[in-house]
């Protein structure tokens, strides 16, 4: 694989960019793979990459029904942070954040991971208690973060409406400086290119429509394009479609798939250099390097696979943004879209074995899995390679929904994305 650098750009410029190599091949599938990953989103591609890179397994296929990174990876608001409340999640997301910090170099692909800091605003006394609790927990977990009062918030985001006279005045915030955003597409492409170089076959426009089973064992996958492809192990990393795939294997999951929407404004000159999130008024916002405001909405209440949600959700989100940033009232919304998020009862992922042998699950990341992409792939690769659940993944097994050992990020921390 040719190395990307300023020099390579210069060199190719002289050749009128006629000689760039493909970033990945368009291979014909083999009959049999050691591991098949279903789902060519960030998590699936990262899994394949780390399997090949760290575990010496190269006979791998990633099967993607559309185009690489076209699922939630390509439609999220790209917020990356690790300041989760419970130890189990904090450790997992911090593991991911550490990987983010060297990802561009590791992949030789600039994923534009921008550590511009993430603010979670508090508007009520209970918000502030929750913030204190989370930041205190982060501190003891070795995760950066501080509690800011309203002056502190104003210093970081002067354009935020911090007046006392708003409907829900800002009382303070949690602040994680190491948090930020990344260029979502580049994450998928960087992993794809890295995996391809290590021999992974990326099969696009190919839908898995069933499993080849023998008893309670998965032996391969059935596809619409290439028929049956055999595999020793199958990792299912299909986010919003996890329930559908589980259905093919004959079981149900504690997952419901909901539309989650986002929108962008027209590009404006940079005025917002951090990520601002507010649960109380329900808006999430950052400004991309192109200049558009990238805004995340609340989740739609009903289930849906349509990659679109209700207009009311968009209206509420925009009202929240105008409430927080009155100067954006005359800025205009350009485009909205939706993804299908796989929500679990405790807003935490499911990683590890499934009720069916040889089939491994990595799903339930819901509204907030983009930030976990490197960590999820790294840990899940270990899981697939070792046939054992790594320490970081253990608490996220399916069993917790029977034992009751839920990791309630949702009730207790109440922070989405």
């Amino acid at each position: 694989m040719e190395k990307y650098s300023a020099y390579s750009l210069f060199k190719h410029a002289l050749g009128h960019h006629e000689n760039w190599q493909r970033q990945w091949r368009n291979p014909e599938p083999k009959k049999h793979y050691d591991v098949i990953i279903i789902g060519g989103g960030g998590h699936g591609l990262a899994t394949a990459y780390y399997l090949a890179k760290n575990h010496g397994i190269h006979n791998i296929a990633v099967i993607e029904k559309g185009y690489l990174g076209g699922g939630n990876t390509g439609r999220n608001t790209t917020i990356v942070r690790s300041n989760y409340l419970w130890d189990e999640s904090a450790h997992l997301y911090e593991h991911a954040l550490t990987l983010w910090e060297g990802l561009s170099q590791d992949l030789n692909y600039n994923v534009m991971f921008s550590q511009r800091g993430v603010l979670n605003l508090g508007h009520t006394l209970q918000d502030m208690r929750d913030i204190e609790r989370r930041v205190s927990a982060n501190r003891l977990n070795g995760i950066d973060g501080e509690v800011l009062d309203v002056d502190g918030v104003r210093r970081i985001v002067p354009i935020l409406n911090t007046s006392k006279n708003t409907r829900f005045p800002v009382l303070g915030a949690s602040w994680q400086p190491r948090g930020g955003v990344a260029r979502h597409d580049a994450v998928a492409w960087g992993y794809a290119r890295g995996a391809d170089r290590l021999g992974v076959d990326l099969l696009q426009q190919c839908t898995v429509t069933g499993f080849e089973m023998s008893g309670n064992q998965v032996r391969g996958v059935v596809t619409n394009r290439y028929g049956t492809i055999e595999a020793d192990r199958v990792g299912c990393v299909v986010a919003g479609n996890s329930g559908v795939l589980a259905g093919y294997a004959g079981f149900e999951l504690p997952i419901e798939s909901h539309p989650l929407q986002a929108l962008v404004s027209e590009p404006i000159k940079p005025v917002l250099d951090t990520v601002v999130m507010s649960n109380q008024v329900h808006g999430y916002i950052s400004q991309s390097d192109k200049g558009d405001l990238v805004i995340g909405a609340g989740i739609d209440s009903y289930t849906g696979y349509g990659q679109r949600g209700s207009f009311t959700t968009i209206e509420h989100t925009i009202a929240a943004i105008v409430e927080l940033f009155p100067i954006f009232s005359r800025v205009r919304m350009n485009r909205q879209w939706g993804g299908i998020v796989d929500t679990t009862p405790d807003a935490c992922p499911i990683m590890g074995t499934s009720p069916v042998e040889n089939l491994y699950l990595n799903c339930g990341w819901g509204t907030g899995g983009f930030k976990a992409t490197p960590g999820s792939g790294h840990v899940f690769a270990e899981c697939l390679a070792s046939n054992d659940t790594p320490q970081l993944a253990k608490p996220f097994n399916l069993q917790r929904f029977y034992s009751g050992a839920l990791i309630d990020e949702h009730g207790a921390a109440g922070v989405a994305h």
Binding site: G243, G247, E252, L253, Y302, Y305, Y402
Partner: protein
């Protein structure tokens, strides 16, 4: 933006008036105490989550406050029918 027929108000109303209430026809086990943790977990958390025809409950929260069932396609978002709690959808055998 859904439009849902409330079988009680006998009118089709805007989504804003309703709350979604999850998969329909999940009966509470009659004797919870004799359920295993697994049975109970299945009842509490595990869902069909189909891509396509879905039977689900809604409540006319800002209207008559009645719960009822809806058959909705989760891809096209078309509402096929609504029917009362305790009933089965038309066309079922």
């Amino acid at each position: 933006m859904l439009k849902i027929h409330c079988p009680y108000c006998q009118e089709t109303r805007e989504e804003e008036e309703f709350h979604y209430s999850g998969q329909a026809h999940i009966a509470r086990p009659t004797d919870p105490e004799s359920c295993s943790d697994e049975d109970w977990g299945n009842y509490l958390y595990f869902r069909k989550n189909p891509r396509g025809r879905h039977m689900e409950m809604w409540v006319h929260a800002a209207g008559c406050r009645k719960f009822f069932n809806v058959v909705r396609d989760t891809v096209t978002y078309e509402v096929e029918q609504t029917y009362l709690i305790g009933h089965v959808p038309a066309g079922s055998t």
